[in-house]
């Protein structure tokens, strides 16, 4: 007689993740039962507290991990093998929770647009109708965005820790669906926003199809969805290789779509531009962190044995992504759109770091995981900061990303111009900023993997990319202000704090990157 065995979940390790998802559910209850006047405060406090506690919990879990393993990889596979809590996972968790925390601060900003947030009052009403006007007069706003964000964060946390293909897919959907919704909730330029949401959803669903089909093929090859089991199957060379190869290809498509690599990048500019800027900031930073960690885990744990199959493909895609992203950014006339293209180019740089996977390293050389994790820290923080600054420059129609309007901004708002310049220089990768250190570690990683042609191209691309970043600085500092151009709104402490923290981090990570690099090194490798 078979008795029911309750699955071992390992609550002591995954509770930060469960906390975030649980708080998201509580947030929905809040929406239903708390009076409208109190919802904003309740939701913001609930979300921030949850994220802070989860962050503390992550640190607690991370310190507890060390005793379980030995050597480079440490951690445990829990939830019946479907979730791996190891060094890279908790590192990604910490980073995601920090990004989400500041994302919430940007979400909650109400000073910039006459006392309301950046989100639509009632997403259901048609743009340009009387109903919309009435919603505006009543000062309604969507406070559902906070639970949505928490769901997305929960999905991201799971995505970074997923240890089998099905969990990977579920996590991907959990993180994506709220983001589709959030994208369509902009208060200003609603048509653009809704169009972006629609595109994002359609293309996202399309790419999920690829991912699922890839999962099916790999299952067909290995007979299991566990990463470890797939690796064993590859080691034993059982099954039909064609299935595996096609599976790897389709899985890559799904994941590369999420990080916005060429040729799967087409959604990025439209969605980044259409989404409310706080969402863009959170999405750009958070999705990339989660997706890259998931990708690293999948490729190094499950497909590690087939390294020389997929590495050349990544070489090509990294190259294409950097070049196309940088070249297209040159022609942009909108700052937000330019940053979207720049994020594509940055995806290429992170991919460069992955090229070092599995390379044999000397004592003081930087591993691919460490390089990518560090790059994600720098990229996440400076992207958050740059988009946060973007929310400040406004004209009558809301945020004004039109490049021409930024001329001479340094005359009227020297502080904003200086901070934005800092972020731009960091994105361009100038020394003594976080961007430089980040680029340096991923290039070092790629070199140790023998990918020097890609590194050469990457360095050249960086030079090209510097053009469009510095063009904005030149415009802000050396041009006459245009009449009737946008003005800088004074934000509340929420946005100011976000900008201040990310700016300081950008400088600190550029000048003394040591501690964070050590932390990333301490995260070690993925476990199986």
């Amino acid at each position: 007689m078979t008795t029911f065995q309750s699955p071992h979940l390992g609550y002591d390790l995954i509770w930060p993740l469960l906390l975030v998802l649980g708080a998201a559910c509580v947030g929905i209850v809040v929406e239903a039962f708390v009076p409208r006047a109190w919802r904003y405060v309740t939701q913001v406090l609930l979300t921030l507290t949850t994220l802070a506690v989860a962050f503390g919990g992550t640190i607690f879990v991370a310190t507890g991990l060390d005793s379980r393993g030995h050597g480079a990889a440490h951690g445990a596979v829990v939830a019946e093998g479907s979730v791996a809590i190891d060094g890279p996972a908790v590192f990604a968790w910490g980073l995601l929770l920090i990004v989400a925390f500041f994302g919430v601060l940007l979400f909650a900003e109400r000073h910039l647009d006459g006392g309301v947030s950046a989100f639509s009052g009632q997403a259901a009403v048609l743009p340009g109708t009387d109903a919309e006007r009435r919603v505006g007069e009543r000062g309604l706003e969507h406070t559902e965005v906070y639970p949505l964000l928490l769901f997305a964060v929960g999905g991201m946390l799971l995505f970074a820790a997923a240890n089998d293909l099905l969990t990977l897919f579920v996590a991907l959907e959990v993180l994506s669906l709220p983001l589709y919704l959030l994208t369509g909730l902009a208060r200003r330029r609603r048509l653009l926003s809704q169009e972006a949401a629609m595109k994002y959803f359609l293309l996202g669903a399309f790419s999920s199809g690829f991912l699922l089909y890839g999962i099916a093929l790999v299952y067909g090859y290995a007979g299991t969805v566990r990463f470890g089991g797939i690796a064993d199957a590859i080691a034993n060379t059982s099954g039909q290789r064609g299935l595996l190869l096609a599976g790897i290809g389709l899985l890559s498509v799904g994941l590369l779509f999420k990080v916005g690599a060429v040729p799967f990048q087409a959604w990025t500019p439209d969605v980044y531009q259409g989404a409310p800027t706080p969402v863009t900031a959170f999405m750009a930073a958070g999705t990339k962190v989660a997706a890259f960690v998931a990708m690293l885990r999948l490729f190094s744990v499950a497909f590690g044995g087939e390294r020389w199959t997929w590495l050349p493909m990544l070489w090509a895609i990294a190259l294409l992504t950097m070049v196309i992203g940088a070249v297209l950014a040159v022609a942009q006339t909108d700052v937000k759109r330019m940053l979207a293209y720049s994020s594509i180019a940055h995806t290429g740089f992170v991919l460069t770091g992955i090229l070092g996977t599995g390379a044999s390293l000397g004592d003081d050389q930087i591993g691919a995981t460490q390089a990518v994790l560090f790059y994600l820290v720098t990229y996440g923080l400076m992207t958050l900061g740059a988009f946060a600054v973007l929310t400040l420059v406004r004209d009558a129609a809301g945020e004004s990303g039109e490049l021409r309007g930024w001329a001479g901004l340094a005359r009227t708002s020297p502080v904003v111009a200086a901070v934005f310049s800092l972020f731009l220089l960091s994105l361009a990768g100038l020394p003594f900023t976080a961007g430089f250190t980040g680029k340096w570690v991923v290039f070092a990683s790629a070199m140790s993997g023998g990918a020097w042609p890609v590194v050469v191209a990457a360095v050249l691309t960086s030079a090209m990319a510097a053009f469009f970043y510095i063009r904005v600085i030149v415009l802000m500092y050396f041009s006459e202000p245009v009449a009737g151009g946008p003005a800088v709104a004074v934000p509340s402490i929420l946005t100011s704090a976000t900008i201040a923290v990310t700016a300081v981090a950008t400088v600190v990570l550029g000048v003394v990157p040591g501690p964070v690099l050590d932390l990333a090194a301490h995260a070690g490798d993925f476990i199986r």
Binding site: A246, G249, P269
Partner: protein, 637 residues
């Protein structure tokens, strides 16, 4: 303690320099006194350290366990195996410099309170002076070549700022730039020397580098080759030439007289320009081990001491005449420094006495200018001894010291150097003696033109004595000019410096020492007499006569120093730069702009892909996916 000695003037500079209306109103009343106080306090601290050294026994050369204090502040930089700390280090040599810098510095600060009284930017002036003192102290107290270099650059900067202090005068701005640029050439030498040291010794600490050169401590890769040491020595010499205005980098010093007179006294006579001598003496072990470099030092020194002396004869500008004399006297010091341990001690001795009497005379010149409405042309002076009695008397003390009148400080110090030079080679000795004769001539000429002969004042000038705050420093410096020779009493200076420069081994002199002394005295007397008969006894025109012999013309044109630089360096550099400009425009810009244009063009084409239709996007995803899968299959099966 050492950090405090440097820190106080630095603090003064930090307080005094930032602008802003508030600080201006707040600090203009007492700012200058703060400047004086910080330097004077540093002097007292330096004195305490000095007295601590006095009781110590004299030990062995070079760096050993006694008679110096060191302070490690923090690790300045750590790259690979090279580790350089922010170390301070005081020994018998540096503490003498500390006392000279802060002592003479305090007096000059005090004097400046009066001299700059009517300048609106007096607060700023004192800020710069404090900055200079701090940098100079860092230069002499640095425990390794990098710290020395920081001070070295610091004094270069302060010197630039102070020469150009009256920047509204075009000539001052130009002079400041010239000084800065020429100093940079020398700095390059110091940098090269440091690079070589890092390569060959893996270290910049005085104790390690010098110890390895002298064979006292084990070198990492065996003892350094003589070529290496020679190269380092020559690079150091280049550095010293720049800072100490030695031929061929001498041309900036005379122009530097555009700065306010206290600046000329402190920086361009008593302290900064002696930094080169400090560098050579400090690195004595390197020159001991590299005879070629040592000979180069002596050649440079002898050429400079004659060059400067000749310039001093032809200048009518009182400050430029003194500047020429400074150049010449530093030549003597370099000569001493190049003559090995025994000469090095006398070089420092002469450096200190020169610091006293030259500061005295520069300040005296400033006092004269103060009374003559800032006129510097000696042809407009004459018979001032009655009008400016204190200035005259103190100046006379300096005068007697510099020409080496028996009993005065300069007599002892210069005589010793010439004597040592004779021990090295009769030719060098004779040339040094000739220099002394010329010194007698030009100093007497200066003295006569200024204080004796007939009145040649411009209309409306009413000479008057300077205020007490200016004359007191003059009196103190005059007393020191007279008594400075006491340092030689009982061979004190050589004993004191023995731990730093090493044991002196006496050369056999070609003739008894008293004969040399006598010869020098006679030569000087001839020089003085010549001046008396050619200047004192004749009518002095108020305008310099134009129909003069070519040597005078050459000397008036700084011996064509500028022309030589122009032909040898400036013109070729300009040609090269122009050529490079053309290359840059045509080739590099062409490539860059072409690429940029291509990028923009490509960008404009590529953006058409981003047409906004979701169906196209989906198509690109599909196409990309097919491509990826097909590529994987084709390549791997």
């Amino acid at each position: 303690m050492l950090a405090l000695i440097i820190g106080l003037p630095l603090l003064g500079a930090v307080v005094l320099l930032p602008g802003g209306g508030l600080v201006d109103r707040w600090a203009s009343r007492w700012g200058h006194w703060l400047g004086v106080a910080t330097v004077a306090t540093s002097f007292v601290l330096g004195l305490v350290v000095f007295l601590g050294f006095v009781g110590d026994p004299v030990g062995d050369y070079p760096f050993h366990e006694y008679g110096w204090t060191a302070q490690h502040l923090w690790t300045f930089l750590e790259v690979g195996d090279v580790k350089v700390g922010a170390d301070l280090y005081a020994d018998h040599l540096s503490i003498l410099f500390v006392l000279l810098i802060t002592g003479v510095g305090s007096l000059i600060h005090l004097y400046s309170v009066g001299y700059m009284e009517h300048d609106d930017r007096r607060r700023r002036f004192f800020g710069y002076l404090n900055l200079f003192v701090a940098a100079m102290l860092l230069l002499v107290l640095g425990g390794n070549y990098l710290m020395l270099f920081l001070g070295w650059e610091g004094v270069g900067l302060a010197s630039y700022l102070l020469i150009g202090f009256w920047q509204h005068k075009h000539s001052a701005a130009l002079a400041a730039r010239k000084a800065f640029v020429m100093n940079r050439v020398g700095d390059m030498g110091l940098l090269l020397a440091m690079f070589l040291m890092i390569v060959h010794f893996g270290n910049l600490n005085f104790s390690n580098v010098l110890g390895q050169v002298a064979g006292y401590s084990d070198a990492v890769g065996g003892p350094p080759s003589e070529t290496t040491v020679t190269l380092i020595g020559l690079a150091l010499l280049l550095a010293a030439c720049g800072k100490s205005a030695q031929v061929p980098l001498q041309a900036w010093l005379l122009d530097a007289m555009e700065g306010p007179t206290p600046v000329s006294a402190l920086i361009h006579a008593a302290t900064m320009v002696t930094a080169g001598v400090y560098l050579i003496v400090r690195s004595g072990a390197i020159f001991e081990a590299a005879p070629v470099a040592q000979t180069a030092v002596i050649v440079v020194a002898v050429v400079t001491l004659l060059w400067g002396a000749v310039l001093g004869c032809a200048k009518d500008d009182i400050k430029k005449a003194l500047a020429g004399s400074t150049m010449s006297q530093i030549g003597y010091m370099m000569l001493g420094a190049g003559l090995g341990p025994v000469g090095a001690a006398f070089a420092i001795f002469h450096l200190v006495t020169h610091g006293f009497f030259k500061a005295n005379m520069f300040l005296g010149a400033g006092s004269v200018m103060h009374g003559m409405d800032d006129d510097v042309d000696m042809r407009h002076y004459g018979a001032l001894r009655k009008m400016l009695p204190v200035t005259f008397l103190t100046f006379a003390m300096g005068y007697l010291a510099i020409i080496g009148f028996p009993g005065f400080s300069g007599f002892w110090s210069k005589d010793k150097i010439i004597e040592t030079a004779f021990g090295y080679s009769p030719l060098v000795g004779a040339l040094a003696m000739l220099g002394a004769g010329i010194t007698g001539f030009y100093m007497t000429r200066l003295m006569l033109l200024t204080f004796f002969t007939d009145k040649r004042w411009q209309d409306g000038v009413h000479p008057h004595e300077s205020p007490r705050v200016m004359t007191i420093p003059l009196m103190v410096l005059a007393a020191l000019s007279v008594l400075g020779g006491l340092m030689l009493a009982g061979g004190w200076i050589t004993d004191w410096l023995r731990p730093v420069v090493g044991e002196a081994h006496h050369e056999e002199l070609p003739m008894p020492a008293y004969v040399i002394t006598l010869l020098v005295f006679v030569t000087v007397a001839v020089g003085v007499a010549t001046a008396w008969f050619t200047v004192g006894e004749r009518f002095v025109p108020r305008k310099a006569p134009a129909d003069v012999a070519w040597p005078v013309k050459a000397a008036r044109a700084d011996l064509y120093g500028d022309a030589i630089n122009d032909v040898l360096v400036v013109q070729p550099t300009m040609r090269l730069a122009e050529g490079l400009m053309v290359f840059d425009k045509a080739v590099i810009d062409g490539v860059v702009m072409g690429q940029a244009a291509a990028t923009v063009g490509g960008s404009l084409q590529l953006r058409r892909i981003q047409n906004g239709f979701v169906r196209s996007y989906a198509l690109s995803v599909l196409g990309g996916g097919l491509l990826v899968v097909l590529a994987l299959l084709v390549v791997n099966i």
